[in-house]
């Protein structure tokens, strides 16, 4: 649970629309308990393992998120289309992306429960893009995110894209999740 940094840099991994939680972390791995640190790491290993190969690592596809025995991927950003994280309520989904080293997801919009889990658990920062970035960014592009100004710089193509402000979730993300936030606003005793 880290507070948001002002600047985040790293490589992009690009996916399409309606990436659901079964694709992010298949049900057969839900027997690991995310509350146990050793098992938390395991989710990184199986993150995105049910995305069909042709849709993995766009625009070309067939780019694995990581090799089978790696726990952490070489990517920092997920760039995706519409309705990212739809499907089940499993918090194992943002956990899996966090465990795999993803710090930021940038999608057109999110399914509600995934979004809440990402923010309240403080696992990653879910930004919304105004352009369809999954058609503009390629897997492997080097990105630099300017958090205070809501701008994404593509260092590979030299393009800059505007992002929607984080709005009401910013204080929760800045606090590091719902527990610290609830303490700040006096809903929970420190």
């Amino acid at each position: 649970m880290s507070k948001i940094q002002n600047e985040i840099t790293g490589k992009a991994y690009v996916l399409g629309d309606n990436i659901d939680t079964d694709q992010i972390i298949p049900a057969e791995y839900l027997t690991f308990n995310p509350a146990i640190p050793e098992e938390y790491k395991q989710f990184g290993k199986y993150a995105l393992s049910s995305v069909p190969p042709a849709q993995s690592g766009l625009p070309k596809g067939n780019i694995p998120f990581h090799t089978d025995d790696e726990f952490v991927s070489p990517y920092t950003f997920i760039i995706a289309g519409k309705n990212f994280g739809c499907g089940s309520s499993r918090e194992h989904a943002p956990v899996a992306l966090d465990a795999a080293g993803i710090k930021v997801v940038i999608a057109e919009f999110y399914a509600r429960i995934f979004f809440r889990n990402a923010v309240n658990g403080g696992y990653l920062v879910p930004f919304e893009c105004t352009d369809r970035l999954c058609d503009k960014v390629c897997t492997g592009d080097e990105l630099k995110l300017d958090v205070p100004n809501c701008k994404l710089h593509n260092l590979t193509t030299k393009e800059t894209y505007p992002l929607n402000p984080l709005g009401e979730i910013a204080p929760i993300l800045n606090a590091g999740g719902i527990f610290s936030y609830a303490k700040q606003v006096g809903m929970l005793k420190s």
Partner: protein
């Protein structure tokens, strides 16, 4: 005071406020928190981490723990997770823990909740499962949350929530005998898309809805999440109240809540259900709608009848009506949602045979009450799609990998359509088997 929808009124009451409006962030009191074997251990971990090892839950009577997902498996981790639930329930003296291997074991949580009297009109029910929205059928606000939120609720009995705007779906007319609630909700999801209700409430209204029994109403609300909905809701009527009063063994008082005249809906659509047709959702999304007439004849490898969506008595009565006197042509798996449904299959008769006997005589395989292959699960799970085969199923999701193999294809359909298709081995219109 401005008019409010049913959902807004329940949320206002639980925020101890006279009025709330869509978009507002509020803190609300929770009536029931439900968790299961997949998300329970993580929730308990969050609770202990933030409230301390010796912490007590906010109210033991308001926490319901129902193991249901990975039950009949040799998987060590899955069984370890049940041990975590068992120990926690003992440590916290939780009266409503439905333990595996005991008389109390139930099966699928969303069906077990009403059977055991944990659903009531006007209440707020949160559960660590996206299909918690099923309970909206009882006129309450019910939605799915993650482990962190659930851990927070466990310690405090409250949570922040954003008030959703309400979409209204009015079903007019009489439901023809070849259609079920499953056809209606698949049609709605196909029309609005799997993100069509994101951050919104879906209220079902109209004579067609109030003519449905509770189980069919649950099927409608169960799948609102497949359109991205936050909650689904149906105003309580006599059918609801009779059901609730017959199950309310804990004698908890409740107050039904209704949408005010003149309340604002962000979207409204009227369906004449007497003119609708059987539908399926094609692979790989619940909104990939097609009429059965458009895909009939497509070859199948397997049929599956079960889950919180399609594993209730009403679903099995429908399937038995079609399967009676026929044999299945493809592997057909029948999984009752709960142990109570399993008992019903052994006792309820049609044409002089129990429903279970009708399925067995038709050549179907019967499983034990649980989620089973609805969400894939460990590789030894009953009915799991371990190869890239094509299945027609009464469940609620057909995303890649949902029922096991990531290249398997799943068609979602009503129990009537699935039963007719099991007999022929290809997608079949149930009208062909309904005299």
């Amino acid at each position: 005071m401005p008019a409010m929808t049913l959902t807004e009124k329940i949320l206002a009451k639980h925020a101890k406020s006279n009025f709330v409006e869509p978009g507002q962030n509020i803190w609300i009191d929770i009536d029931i928190l439900m968790t299961h074997d997949v998300c329970g251990p993580g929730t308990i971990g969050v609770f202990k981490k933030h409230f301390g090892k010796a912490a007590k839950v906010w109210d033991p009577k308001k926490i319901v723990i129902i193991p249901d997902h990975y039950i009949f498996t040799a998987d060590k981790m899955a069984n370890r997770n049940i041990d975590v639930l068992r120990e926690f329930s003992k440590e916290q003296n939780l009266p409503y823990y439905y333990d595996v291997g005991t008389e109390k074991y139930k099966g699928v949580c969303h069906i077990a909740l009403p059977e055991e009297g944990h659903t009531r009109p006007g209440e707020v029910l949160l559960g660590t499962d996206s299909h918690t929205c099923t309970a909206g059928a009882f006129g309450e606000f019910a939605t799915g949350i993650g482990n962190t939120d659930a851990g927070f609720v466990m310690g405090t009995g409250s949570l922040w929530l954003k008030v959703p705007p309400t979409m209204r779906f009015v079903f007019e007319g009489t439901l023809p005998p070849y259609l079920m609630a499953k056809d209606l909700i698949l049609a709605v999801i196909g029309d609005i898309g799997c993100d069509g209700a994101t951050y919104r409430a879906m209220e079902f209204d109209g004579a067609g809805v109030f003519a449905l029994n509770m189980e069919e109403r649950m099927t409608l609300c169960n799948m609102v999440i497949e359109a991205g909905g936050k909650n689904g809701v149906i105003a309580p009527d006599k059918v609801t109240l009779d059901f609730i009063d017959s199950k309310n063994k804990h004698k908890v008082p409740y107050t039904p809540v209704y949408t005010d005249p003149g309340a604002k809906f962000i979207y409204e659509k009227v369906y004449d259900i007497s003119k609708m047709q059987p539908v399926v959702a094609k692979p790989h999304s619940p909104d990939n709608k097609a009429f059965v007439s458009e895909v009939k004849g497509a070859k199948l490898d397997r049929a599956y009848i079960g889950s919180c969506t399609g594993g209730k008595m009403t679903d099995f009565r429908a399937a038995a009506k079609i399967m009676h006197g026929h044999s299945v042509k493809i592997d057909t798996f029948v999984v009752p949602a709960t142990t109570e449904v399993a008992k019903g299959l052994k006792s309820e008769k049609m044409h002089g045979k129990t429903l279970e006997q009708i399925f067995l005589d038709a050549g179907a395989k019967m499983g034990d009450a649980s989620c089973a292959a609805c969400l894939g699960g460990p590789s030894d799970t009953f009915g799991r799609l371990n190869q890239a085969i094509r299945c027609i199923s009464t469940t609620n999701r057909n995303f890649p990998g949902r029922m096991g193999h990531k290249e398997a294809e799943v068609f979602l359909a009503s129990p009537l359509t699935v039963a007719a298709s099991a007999i022929t081995g290809m997608i079949t219109d149930p009208r062909e088997y309904l005299a």
